[in-house]
């Protein structure tokens, strides 16, 4: 499955400044694994060691917010990772 992933500024250091990258995978988990192969370290910054989306990260599949890394995707899906409102 070919999808697109939109990344927050905090993660663009991994992608050489690219805000949007193509990726492959049938689920968000597979897509993140694909990204991690190409951009080592990226996945662990957003998914913890227990496969949970980190507290201050939001994951959208198209416009729907989800924390389910196993949900099926369809061709052309846009996955958006957002740095939640936090900090100060």
């Amino acid at each position: 499955m070919n999808v697109r992933v939109v990344l927050p500024s905090q993660l663009q250091g991994y992608t050489d400044g690219l805000r949007e990258v193509p990726a492959e995978g049938a689920t968000p988990g597979e897509v993140l694994a694909d990204l991690d192969r190409r951009f080592p370290g990226l996945r662990f910054r957003v998914i913890d060691e227990q496969d949970r989306v980190r507290r201050h990260i939001l994951l959208f599949v198209d416009r729907e917010r989800t924390e389910d890394l196993d949900r099926p995707l369809v061709e052309g899906t846009v996955i958006t990772l957002v740095g939640a409102l936090s900090g100060g």
Binding site: Q10, F44, R45, V46, D48, E49, I57, G83, S86, G87
Partner: protein
Amino acid sequence: MSLQLYISTRKGLWIADGGPSGDTFELRGPTFLGQQCHHCVLDPRDGRTLLLASRQWHLGPTVFRSDDGGRTFVEAEHPPRFAKGDARGRAVDHVFWLTPGHADEPGVWYCGTSPQGLFRSEDGGRSWEPVSGYVDHPDQQKWAGGDKDQTPDGGKLHSVLVDPRDPARLFVSMSGGGTFTSGDRGATWSPMNQGVDMDFAPPPPEGEEYPYGHDPHHMVQHPTSPDRFWQQNHCGIYRRDGVDGRWIRVGRNMPADVGDVGFPVVVHPKDPDTAFVFPMDGTKDWPRTPPHGRPAMYLTRDGGETWQRRDAGLPTEQAWWTVKRQAMCGDGRDPLGIYLGNTNGEVWRTRDEGASFECLFRHLPHVYAITAGEAS
């Protein structure tokens, strides 16, 4: 060699280069602007390798390594993390503490995390594995307690010490949880909290002590008299003589209107009886600010029997900042320089053991940690 200060802040890392003399410092940075930098430590075994414990507000924790004195950093290939499927669902929130291993074990590092976890690297910080004798110990949760036993931003494992006489002998402290030691590189552990007060808990039965659950804020071991430990605890200042000894609350000799609560403690590298603390207000609502708004370092030269106030050059009134447990250090030189960073983003120095202080830098972010190193 060049004396450098590694200033880890709530919003980035700064490196201050003092050159061979250490007389004046040039500030370099920020690096990782906007990231929470908890600890940055130079490897004294090579004077070149720097490790940095960092996280970004939104992103997970990691460790960065520099081989060129902090000019460039590379992220760890396998950062510290609990095992996937951990029965308690633990995940590292932030890496809090970094300790280079024994002089005879180049490349070995330890780190302490929040929640309390102990991890080891054998390749200079590139990859990390849990010290399973600690992390998976069936009593670890009893030692560290639950959510109500932790510091506000999560429990921490800190003050990881490697005995200079024996690379297998480790010491760790937990906030909360107390201090523990291992004689087999972390395979098995024993508490070493005898004599430490736990004023915040109901009194133990007559003649008994709590074996763990204490709140050490910072512990140090003397480098050449390694039977001597100093501890700044939530409940006082302590000295300990000998691995099998008891902690002695020498903070009771502090002035009553100052008390013996604080975060950091520094021991003089040439004199195990000389130590430095920076008290904070631990009364009523625990503001954790200098008592009466007048910051001061306190110095003992007799093992804590007597203490002298040292505040010349520091603000004399209306100063309400805090010096955190990692934010005061010595530089190991003779005479000893001592550096402290505060929550207002200032860095102060004394080169005469507190007879006078000077402000090196202002307007940095909230300082989490300062370490000093001799960079090659």
